[in-house]
Amino acid sequence: MNQRVLVRPSVLPGFGLSLGFTLAYLSLVVLVPLSAVFLKAATTSFDVFWATVTAPRVLASLRLTFGASFIAAVVNAVFGLLVAWVLVRYPFPGRKLVDALVDLPFALPTAVAGIALTAVYSSKGVLGGALEPYGIKVAFTPVGVVVALVFIGLPFVVRTVQPVLEDLEREFEEAAASLGANRWQTFRRVILPAVGPALFTGFALAFARAIGEYGSVIFIAGNIPLVSEIAPLIIITKLEQYDFAGATAVAVVMLVVSFALLLAINALQHWARTRGGRR
């Protein structure tokens, strides 16, 4: 794009109208409301802000939110890669159905996912009941939080890795094989580096989504203060107590992390492209 011109001339009409409407709608629906959070936070004194954010219960919730999100994203990176690999490389009966169902967490309302996961993983559920004799409790513990976040994040990894695997040139693998590499070496040294940027992007997307997640988590978490209470729930609790400043302080911390992640993901995509993960 020519850097000197603001808008490149075009014979097509409607630029002013469509851009004007876009900017107005974007400002009214997204930008102004979001800035309200930061303005509200700016009106609270720093001491109050700091005292709110470093209160033990808030700190514990932030630790749980970020920690559980990280673990869930790691689980999703491993199994998401496996699922993408199986879907791309191995034709098996029912593959198309399985492929379509991978998007279920995108389509299923989070509250439904929450009560469904609780039904399966509580001590009365199919899996929860089976795990309990071994001393593993899932529902109403931090493990339950991780389970819900794995559910929510899975499609991000599968759907970022899948197209890259589909585009992967078989010639590279053939070259590796003809040079004497076994399959494991080829996977580690040829396939994984090519998929790496997409896998990392998928991981970051799953992590970012997990941090803000609320609906699917609160049912299975049990919401025990200092143990299984997530940061978004702290915001709701503070709102219900009319502690708007406190709710805003926690929200600002989460927003700053989310926006930093968004920028990191954009940079990752750029890296993935320039590195040639996709042509």
Binding site: R8, T22, P109, A111, V112, A113, A119, R159, Q162, L255
Partner: protein
């Protein structure tokens, strides 16, 4: 351009074409049969534990007390009013974001201007905001103690704990869906067809209706379906602004929560099963569109379509 369907938060992505059947003889670039089946089994087992079992549990729990109890839970007046409110909110949010999506995609895909990539990033912003915070922002604006709280009270207008707040929060969380489907699609299609129509004397509206709209109809439908699924299923943002007034400001997901917290599990799962059905219909329609467009929705646009078109134009005048 930092835009790629496969690379965006909460992105709706799609399903690939099947690979050609592999020959039965094992090639050096293939895994041993036992390993293949082990990997397939592990992948399916993982998906079963995290996706299929919970989905089945919804319907199992909903029908646990038989068909009559199931129907009774759905025709309860509170359930019906929740269903009505959910439909109403979706009927507001989806068209609003459809119009925005088309306008944004027209400006971004058909014209070149500075700051475009910033605009695209800003459109994506709502996806990186926690649903709870999406609700909080509107409480800070329109709540009793919010910026506009006193003015609204003076004029006796209720936004928070009322339908307008629910609609606003839903519009916020579903904001990017249509735009993000249309922008890469319209960028990949370029501007030549529209330019030809304009040069031949068509008006702007005629060009849009007769040239652009037929080209983007599947993308538009795709975005609308995903937007609708999220609008009907949104929980966190709506939960903050709704106030949970039974029969008045409860959407279906909120009603599910209330029933569940009152230990009316079967009724909660009955209402939830409707939402699960909506999700399954959404996935089926999504797969249908992908099949209908020949996996076209799956194909990522060239990374710099504008630059590429420009390049081609210069190389072959």
């Amino acid at each position: 351009m930092s835009w790629g369907r496969a690379m965006t938060i909460d992105g709706a992505m799609s399903i690939g074409d099947p690979l050609p059947a592999t020959p039965s003889r094992r090639l050096p670039t293939e895994e041993a049969l036992w390993l293949r089946w082990t990997l397939v089994t592990v992948a399916i087992a993982f998906l079963a534990l995290f996706l299929f079992l919970p989905l089945a549990a919804v319907f199992h729990q909903a029908l646990r007390k038989g068909w009559d109890a199931y129907v009774a839970a759905l025709v309860d007046p509170d359930a019906l009013s929740a269903i009505r409110l959910t439909l109403l909110v979706a009927a507001i949010a989806v068209p609003a974001n459809l119009i925005f999506g088309v306008a944004a995609a027209w400006a971004i895909a058909k014209f070149d201007f500075r700051g475009k990539s910033v605009l695209v990033t800003l459109i994506d912003l709502p996806f990186s905001v926690s649903p709870v915070i999406s609700g909080l922002v509107f409480v800070l604006l329109f709540g009793a103690q919010g910026w506009f709280g006193p003015e609204l009270r003076e004029h006796d207008i209720k936004i928070i704990f009322a339908v307008p707040g629910i609609a606003l929060a839903t519009i916020f969380v579903t904001f990017p869906f249509v735009a993000r489907e249309l922008i890469p699609l319209m960028q990949a299609q370029g501007t030549e067809e529209e330019e030809a129509a304009i040069v031949l004397g068509a008006s702007g509206w005629q060009t849009f209706r007769r040239v652009t709209l037929p080209n983007i109809k599947w993308g538009l439908l795709y975005g609308a379906i995903l937007c609708n699924a999220r609008a009907m299923g949104e929980f966190g943002a709506v939960s903050v602004v709704s106030g949970h007034i039974r029969g008045e400001t409860n959407t279906m997901p909120l009603y599910v929560e209330i029933l569940y917290n009152e230990y009316q599990f079967q009724a909660a799962f009955a209402v939830a099963s409707l939402l699960a059905l909506l999700a399954l219909v959404t996935l089926a329609l999504k797969s249908f569109i992908e099949w209908r467009t020949g996996g076209g929705m799956d194909v990522l646009p060239p990374e710099e379509p504008q630059a590429e078109l420009e390049f081609r134009r210069r190389v072959s005048p």
